[in-house]
């Protein structure tokens, strides 16, 4: 199998007017999962593409590209956002957490542990986004009610589980 590499950012420019070159790209700095990152981005590059294509963090998933499904949820300055609706150029100075931040030094986050224990994972494609929505909730509100949990994940579609076990898992993680 050929070697896995970063996606090359080759592209053609299709704009009608000669624009200011600097404005087409941007050098940005931000913190990603606790580490500083400095990277050059295209003006129209989305955060999800920056994370997956350029930075190689593939845990964040794309399910619709329109903010309708929540699979690409990451935490931006403490808030859950769909990374398909965020321009990479706007995250200058931000603090971003992706699903990769939850598993540190071989230790699972209590949410991950609870998702496994409660059977809240089936196909797994919505799981990273759900974990990040749940994480954002618990960061802000460590002891949420069931209703608050339901609202916090209402932007994350899951087609496999029927959600019940997801609620249970978040409740369990909050209890711990």
């Amino acid at each position: 199998m050929p070697r896995v590499t970063q996606r090359s950012i080759k592209f053609k420019m299709y704009f009608q007017r000669k624009g200011s070159k600097e404005a087409l790209f941007r050098e940005i700095s931000f913190r990603l999962n606790g580490e500083p990152v400095r990277v050059r981005v295209r003006s129209d590059q989305r955060l999800i593409d920056l994370l997956r294509d350029t930075l190689g963090l593939r845990g964040t998933k794309e399910g619709c590209g329109r903010g309708d499904c929540g699979s690409c949820t990451v935490i931006l300055n403490g808030l859950a956002v769909t990374s398909c609706l965020v321009l990479a150029a706007t995250v200058e100075g931000a603090e971003i957490l992706t699903v990769e931040s939850l598993f540190r030094n071989g230790r699972l986050d209590p949410l991950q542990e609870a998702f496994l224990e409660k059977g809240a994972v089936q196909c797994g494609y919505c799981t990273p986004g759900l974990l990040m929505s749940a994480k954002a909730l618990l960061l802000e509100n460590p002891h949420p009610s069931l209703e608050e949990i339901k609202i916090a994940v209402s932007g994350n579609l899951c087609r496999c589980t029927g959600y019940k076990k997801i609620f249970e898992a978040i409740q369990l993680a909050a209890e711990r």
């Binding site: 845990g59 196909c123 994940v153 579609l157 589980t161």
Partner: protein
Amino acid sequence: MKIVGKSIRRVDGLAKVTGQARYPQDFYLEGMLYAKALRSRYSHALIKKINVSRARELEGVRAVLTAQDVPGRNLFGHMIADQPVLCQDKVRFRGDAVAVVAAESEEIAQEALSFIQVDYDPLPVVSDPRQALKPDAPRVHEKGNILTHYKIRKGDVEKAFQEAHLVIESNYRTPCVEHAYLQPESGIAYVEDTGDLVIIVATQCVYIDRHQIARSLGLPEEKVKVVLAETGGAFGGREDISVQILIGLLALKTGRPVKMTYSREESILSTAKRHPAYMRYKSGVDREGRLLAWEAEIIADTGAYASSGAAVVQNMAMYASGPYKVDNVKIDAYAVYTNNTFAGAMRAFGCPQVTFASEMQMNKLAAALGMDEYEFRRRNAMVGKSEFATGYLADVDNCQIVCLDEVVRLSNWKEKRYRQNKEAGKDRFYGIGIAAGFKNVGYGSGYVDSSSAEVELMPGKVRLKISAVDQGQGVETILCQIAAEELAISMENVEYTNPDTSVTPNAGSSSASRQTFNSGNAVRLACLDLKKNLQQLLDSRKWKRPPGYPGHTSYNWSNILQEFLSMEGETEGMASVIGRATYVPPPTTPLDPETGEGIPAYSFGFGAQVAEVVVDKRTGQVDLKKVYAAHDVGRAINPLQVEGQIEGGVVMGQGYALMEEIILKEGETLTPDLATFDIPTSLDVCDIESAILEVPDRHGPYGARGVGEMTTISTAPAIAAAVHDAVGVWIDELPVTAEKVVRALKEKEFQGKDVREETLPEKTLQEKDFQDQALREDKGIAHAPRRTTSHENWVIFKGDLNV
């Protein structure tokens, strides 16, 4: 048993919660190109000319291919191959691919599509299957618009309807819906140094894919390797080919790895749907509430291509009369081509449609008889040796009865059903409804249904090789549990090998709720074979007993196995020991074309569900409050996963019941994304209480039968029945939207009274026959007002099936 029957954690769970699981989207290969397909601009048109030269000139474009570049057969299809890889002379729906591009970036590939010129000659569009049946309708395919017409003929329905005490006739309609798995179709292809083509893809069966890819690319099957990537849900929607052949074609032409990922819109536009169905049902009962006759005419819209439509519609015919004993059955089920998005397999394969119709009939019959819906079903349920509509005689035990009894107990049906005060706030009314349902496990109908497994004992581990695809349902975990159980080892010692046609044997597809059953048996048999081989090894004295066991007789296969496992890593000169087996389930037969006689399946899964709703009478909004689900799974190998199947199935059923519909107008999808095709969110779902019942199957591993599909079929009719209980209208067309409820209530108001009540006959049942009636009397619950009609035979029939 130590492992079977336990709620073991998913073996693929860790990778999934840490974001390390690799779906096809997550493969990035050096030098890979990105592919995009040009889809048809028309629902039905002749292609006069395709000019790709301008697109080819674009910088960064590496290939632009059309039909003439397809080296093999330019047709594919899950069961019947009639769908072009790239259309040559005609397009039949909007999702048809006309050309495909590979470029250095997705943006360039997308841009290149706009430089492809296609001259079309638009043809008249047929988008309603009832229209498509007419002789002068536009022809989607040369051979005509009827893909199949299945018939079931048993007894004499005409005579039975004459003799019936009550006959109910209704028209039902179920919508086109989308699987909406969260992971859009994606795959990556490359050519190995040996010249072999490798396709990494999310699918339901690597072998069925390989067959179709090889055929269209003109390659021998052994030159194509299909490797499974993590599969983000499927529900039947990945039985069909999506990106596989296109990326294979481009990889062969460019010599570079090629990746293709559908947008959500492309996924909704171009992949299979659940068949929309128009159904006319007529059912008759005798005075005692015994079913005498069923008649159904089912017209299913199979869209532009066959896919598995013929088999889906055959299933509709076979299960059209529900899990009930009926002596007189007449079913006609048609799969009809139109210029809509093609329909294929989707969770429960034809059963959601017919179960909605048949359970609505059951509820209407019970209401007309003044009989409790549960008692009425119980009275007619197939029990023990039962004759199916196809004439097949099989012992179904008391599976349906136990499900009904349990769901009634769990939901406290007998009290809630006869609750007198249904008010639940201003304009809001409470309702409760019940429905049953059953479905085949395994393909049945004469299709080859075997599964092969290999269990390899190596130093340090047991490697399980089988091509069973885990699309999320958890089959990997189930099969590892079975292997661990059979070999009396721990789960950690079992390693599941990723399905790959060059490595793992064929297990058939992950569909028809068959993997636990068929592959579970295959793994059991392979483990038996391994034990036998280990024993032979011991007998042949090639295995040197360790010093601790000189001449000891209790030294057996298990000791060798443990010794293997205690070795670390690759041990010099240590050969592995392999167990192999193929499980072939009991035979089934194709159905007789004229009568439908035959053996439909070798195992069946039964269930029953109760739904509670609150309906706003003014806005029509239906608020689902609770669902109780009792399912007989034979044996729950992993109860947590069974619950997951029940809860997921119920919520999918809820979506089908209340909100989901792919709306097409003249073949154009008006609901192309997840903002317009609404599926339930966390704020829509209700609490689900499930009961797992275990009446062992005769052939399933440890008595297990399938569960994946049965859980979704009873939900919609149970909800529709609850809506009727709440506000007194039958909504015969899914989804039961707020607007339909309001419209039905208006019609009822306009007519001044409930048509049903008006035409209801005098109650003629013997009250004492029904315990439930007595219960009602005891509680002093009044019967609904009934009027006498002069005829014993009466028919409720609204609308016309033929437009």
